[in-house]
Amino acid sequence: MASLELLGFGSTGWGALLILATLMTLAVTATALAIGAVLGAIVAAAKLSGNPVFVAFGNVYTTVFRGVPELLIIYLIYFGGSSAITSIGKAMGYEGFLGLPSFAAGALAVGIISGSYQAEVFRGAFLAISKGELEAASAIGMHRGLRFRRIIMPQVLRLAIPGLGNVWQLSLKDSALISVTGLAELMRTSQVAAGSTRQYFLFFIAGGCLYLILTSLSDRIFNRAERRANRSMPASAMGQA
């Protein structure tokens, strides 16, 4: 069938481009998740700090970046970010345009959004740590830093894994919106292929299937991580998936 040839790897096949685009989606999502992890940790710490200014900052961050449509945030970063950098450049004496590349702008935008979700995941995980275990750490004379490094961090990471799996899924799909910056990720490549060949259904279905493959791979990875992290938990808490 001619349409299947279009998906192949021959001279008229889009297979290679679609695979590249899938890898691009993976790369941009992973970068965004990493950016989000840093932002999320900072915002979660702010929200838990008890300092009213920090708490307010944390609340504003999570409210705004979860409440505004992702597309708008991507636009604001893509265009707004470039203007900001360019004007900084001007101030420093550099005439001309300093743009955020599509990849950086996209990863940053999705990362900022992902950070607002990760902040809530981390905060929930922190609150789920047993108060008794924290007291036990104080009681043997652990100071703050040690307590954080030895008791809090490992447990937050373990408790956060399922939540992070969900955030990954969200970010994966948010990355589809980066197509407006022209970055050749999976969504845009599907659209371009569809527009160039006028085989809309073929390429949208192919794109959808590639997203599903990414989902099932990442599900598998997160499940394995969760099982590994939960080896300290009673047998009954595992294997209920």
Binding site: G67, V68, M187, F201, F204, G208
Partner: protein, 234 residues
């Protein structure tokens, strides 16, 4: 800043808010109903039903809504079976298709959220209900559903907000809600930042109201978890 432009943009966008709200409330409603069906299949214990539910959830959680919506709206009409069936008068309508694809998508997520809530119900409380002779629908209605819903509420609030944002895609299928109108305004005026700023404020306000409402609901449903009221000392 050009305030007259901002004001007129705001007015134009506000006119699209009812469309956004209709999309939102209908898809939340039908998505919720569908999620109940999916989740009951998922936990039914019947391998065929639960396999179907798993597949459903996988597909609708795992692929971008944009693709789903495109396939529902433009794809279904490609099939003569559908085009000449009694369904077509409904599926012809963009609003119906938009709500359909939003509801199909949220049902996958919501089913997972509800399942989490069900799993959080203590098996002991269910056993206690069985031991006084409850079973079937009575058990679900009186014990399982209320407890599960309470557990699922925080995650469900998040899903509802995500849904509000997802309505932004409906302009793809010619339902011109707030984001679509904003994009159209931009391609007429090319003033990206101002228009998106107005749109962002609208969504922020809508979502803020929704979250406050959900928090209120959560509060009123968690009396049994709050500290006991302190008896007044006379």
């Amino acid at each position: 800043m050009d305030f007259t432009f901002l004001a007129s943009t705001m007015v134009t966008l506000l006119k699209a808010v009812p469309t956004t709200l209709i999309l939102f409330s209908l898809s939340i409603f039908f998505g919720g109903v569908l999620a109940l069906v999916i989740v009951s299949m998922r936990v039914s214990g019947n391998p065929v039903l639960s396999g179907f539910a798993k597949g459903y959830i996988f597909v609708f959680r795992g692929s971008p809504l944009l693709i789903q919506m495109f396939l529902v709206f433009y794809g279904l009409g490609q099939f003569g079976v559908i085009r000449y069936s009694f369904l077509w008068p409904f599926l012809r309508e963009p609003m119906v298709c938009a709500v359909l694809s939003l509801a199909l998508c949220t049902a996958g997520y919501t089913a997972e959220i509800f399942r989490g809530g069900i799993r959080a119900v203590s098996p002991k409380e269910i056993e206690a209900a069985r031991s006084i002779g409850m079973s079937g629908f009575l058990l679900v209605r009186r014990i399982l559903a209320p407890i599960a819903f309470r557990h699922a509420l925080p995650a469900y609030s998040t899903e509802i907000v995500l849904m509000m944002k997802s309505t932004a895609l409906a302009s793809l299928v010619t339902v011109w809600e707030v984001t679509g109108v904003a994009q159209r305004l931009i391609s007429q005026t090319y003033r990206t930042m101002e228009v998106f700023l107005c749109a962002a404020i609208i969504y922020l306000v809508l979502n803020f109201i929704i979250l406050q409402g959900m928090a209120l609901l959560e509060y009123s449903l968690s009396r049994h978890r709050r500290a006991a009221p302190q008896p007044l000392k006379a």
